[in-house]
């Protein structure tokens, strides 16, 4: 494992290498070398299985972290390849030629985060949603509760009290911390 990591560091400049558990190591790679690195891992290092690919929205840093989880059946090791891209309209290299399910993931990411993967088949088609007219829902700034309340509404007749506030109002309205 260390050998591989050293080589990846040397050849691809990966950083942020973290051993999460014996069977899982994650590292970060630059967007430009990501596809080559993943292809290399698949073809030469035996990481032939793509468990999944997904995305984490770090809205506070303005980036999407794409995660490709690769698995080596012989060594029973998983590699989490992290790739940071900008949240703003940045394209990512498609890996649909590497795994047959990859384009589905890319289609999903397109829909849920709005990430573009040029060349990926059927990218613009609806995946889960239909007639979606808001920002991609998995983005952190999308407030699903508020959306649901506005669009679908809730049945009326609900009202709840906080025990603490209720007791203050009912039992000691003029006391307690009223300063400031």
């Amino acid at each position: 494992m260390n050998d591989l990591m050293e080589r990846l560091q040397r050849d691809f400049g990966v950083d942020d290498i973290t051993v999460r558990k014996p069977a899982l190591t994650t590292f970060r790679v630059k967007k430009d070398s990501a596809e080559t690195l993943i292809r290399e891992l698949r073809d030469r290092e035996g990481y032939t299985h793509l468990n999944f690919m997904t995305c984490i929205d770090y809205i506070e840093d303005g980036i999407f972290t794409l995660v490709y989880m690769l698995h080596n059946y012989d060594k029973k090791l998983s590699l989490g390849v992290h790739v940071d891209i900008s949240r703003e309209n940045e394209d990512m290299v498609s890996i649909h030629t590497l795994w047959a399910q990859a384009w589905t993931y890319q289609r999903e990411l397109r829909e849920m985060y709005g990430i573009n993967f040029p060349g990926s088949p059927r990218l613009e088609e609806d995946f889960c949603l239909e007639g979606w007219d808001d920002i991609p829902p998995m983005r952190r700034e999308f407030d699903t509760k508020e959306f649901s309340e506005q669009r679908f509404g809730h049945r009326e007749g609900r009202h709840s009290e906080e025990p603490r506030d209720h007791m203050k109002v009912e039992l000691y309205p003029n006391r307690g911390g009223d300063e400031k």
Partner: protein, 210 residues
Amino acid sequence: MKNSLNTDDTLENSGLTEEEQLLFSNARPRAYEPYPIKAVEDFANWARANSLWILAFGTGCGAIELRPLMTARFDANRFGVAGRPTPRQSSVFIIGGYASVKTLKRIIRSYEQMQGPKFVICLGICPINGGMYFDSYNTINQFDQYIPVDLYATGCMPRPEALVASIMALQKKIKAGECDGANRYVENFDWYKANQKKVIKNWDMPDYNW
């Protein structure tokens, strides 16, 4: 050939293209009128109550309990319940819990295609007040906003026994001639349509499918 009723009382079908508009009717639904003789209507209701054909459209988790219901252990066939693959042959629509917007569109289509008198049972909490997915961006919260509902059975999921109970309750209601869901749909058609169109943003089907 535009098989329209060229009166003010037609549907716009604005979701359809010019070409498609020719293919679909723009007639409004008509309410069911009971037989003028009460005994006949009662007999019809008795017959309806004892031959409830369920549309085999598992719209949500509820579908999982429909299978035990229909198979040997709970054997709903003895209540005259049978599953039908097409809406045209079905009289009962069981909404199996939550309905995503995408499914709601299909539900509406299927429901409108069903022959009247037709009945809707909502299973679980989600159609009542959003349930588990009350804050989801893709599931509706109050099913009766879109399709009239005759019975609700709460639970998550309601057990097959609760389903049997709700079928029995539905039978009772039908026999009493109180299942007017389909007529409510007709009477408040514009209200229902407006609600439906509020959540279904790509309305590309006729306003009334039958």
